[in-house]
Structure formats: structure tokens, C-alpha cells
Amino acid sequence: MLNYSNVIENDKSYPGLQMREIKPVMKLIIRGKKRQFLSAVGKSLNLLLPNEANTSSRSDQLTALWLSPDEWMIFSNEILKSDDNNYDVEKLLNKNICKTNLGAVTDVTDQFVLINLKGDKIFDLFETGSPFNFNDFKSKKGLVTQTILAKIDIIVHNQDINDVNLFVRRSFSDHLFSWMNDSASRL
């Protein structure tokens, strides 16, 4: 694990909304188009990649998010040891995907910040700064979308009802978190 300064220092809590950063969590982006790629990933991780747009799949250890027709994000459900930068999953995928020329694996653990939001005001907060229509999204567990929040690219994963994972690029995370705090204080 690289030693970045902590972007989000304190957990924040508002009526109907709690926000905190979850770390360290392994995050990988995998890309590939071939059918063998999908089956190789499925066999390696014991996890089927979601084929349908804007959906996710989950195993005991990992969650896979659909990002585009040939791109997925895989992240670990549990937090990992903070002193280690090597992941067995990445090594396994490198061996079964990259070395066989089926696709690409990129470690984005330190690129993305994972903010977990809980409470019934999550989507009220999102609606103050996002053009995305969350009406159907919020009631379906497991849906994923990439959209804009306060002009910043984000990935939203509806983990459970009133429990949302938000991925944002590290350089934007400080600003986004302060914007979310400001917006949440006015809900």
C-alpha cells in the first residue's frame, strides 16, 4: 500500500446520512472483449462478470461492477492489510488474462477513493448535483452507474438499500467530499 496522506480525515454524520472513507480496499480495472476472457475471469475468481449494462455481481470476497461493454471494476468486499501492496487476485488475473493476451488488468487501488454512504438521504444529496435520474436506481440493489456529481466523474454502486459505495478519483476526492458535506448540511 502506498503511503498517501489521508484524503478524508473524519467520518461525517448528518440526519439521515453518514459518510466515511473505506480503506484500504483493493480495486482493479479489467478490460477485455473475447468470450474466453469472460470465462477465464470467471474461472480465476469464481465470479461471473456482469454482462448486462449498469449491473454488478458479488462473491464472498469480491464485487465486480459493469463500467462499459468491455470494462469492469473489481474490488474487495473486506478491507485489507495496510502494509501490503501485493494482491493475490491481481497476480492470478495477470497470469490468466494478461499473459494469455486475453485482456488487461490495471491496479487502481490508489487511484480511486471509496466513500461509503449510509442513510435515507443519500439520493437527496446526489440529486442536488447530478444530472442522473436516481428514481429507479435507488430501489434496486446492485445497480451501478457512472455519472457526474458536482461536475466530478463518479461511479455509484447501490450496494444495498440506503447503502451506497461511491468511487471518485483521488485528486477530486477532497473537493467532492467537502462539497458533499456542504450540500448535506443544507438538506
Binding site: 449494462a53 449498469n54 463500467l67 462499459s68 461493454p69 444530472p131 442522473f132 452507474t145 457512472q146 457526474i148
Partner: protein, 91 residues
């Protein structure tokens, strides 16, 4: 402000997209044999019509995929959306 139906992600707001100019421009097969005028014609000259226009768009804040769109430039009505490499569904 209008809604665009991304062929991969579904209906999204226009601010998630980026326009990529006119679609279906074919690159000359032998660029070295063209005169400067012909090359400039290919490189820079674009239609700017009022009416039905074929355009390329990118869902840049979503799936980051390119696709084609048929749009009426006079009223922003989207006639059709189709993937790269597909034939335009309307003439």
C-alpha cells in the same frame, strides 16, 4: 438540455456526453496523392446544415464509448442512435 439514449448505458442527460463532429467521413485511401486543397477539404470542411445531421458522440462521463446519432439541428430532436460501424437506420 436534452436526453440522449446511449446505446450501451441507456437514457442519460446531455451533459454526460461530448459531441464529436460529423459522422461517416471516409479517410482517403491514398492521402499522398491528394492535393493540398483536397486534403484540407477532407480534414477541415464540415457540413453545417439546418435539419437532419449525422453526428458522432462520446458518452465521456459514462461508459466512454463512441456512437453515432441522427439529430435534427433545428429543434434538437434525436431521430436515431446507433453503434459505430452500423449503418444509419434512417436516411
Amino acid at each position: 438540455m436534452f436526453l440522449i439514449n446511449c446505446p450501451f448505458c441507456g437514457e442519460r442527460e446531455q451533459s454526460e456526453f461530448k459531441a464529436g463532429g460529423e459522422a461517416h467521413i471516409v479517410r482517403p485511401k491514398q492521402p499522398t496523392e491528394l492535393s493540398d486543397d483536397q486534403w484540407a477539404e477532407y480534414l477541415f470542411m464540415r457540413k453545417n446544415i439546418k435539419g437532419i445531421q449525422f453526428e458522432r458522440w462520446n458518452h465521456i462521463h459514462g461508459c466512454r464509448k463512441w456512437f453515432n446519432m441522427v439529430r435534427d439541428t433545428s429543434n434538437d430532436e434525436i431521430k436515431a442512435v446507433y453503434k459505430m460501424g452500423e449503418k444509419p437506420p434512417v436516411k
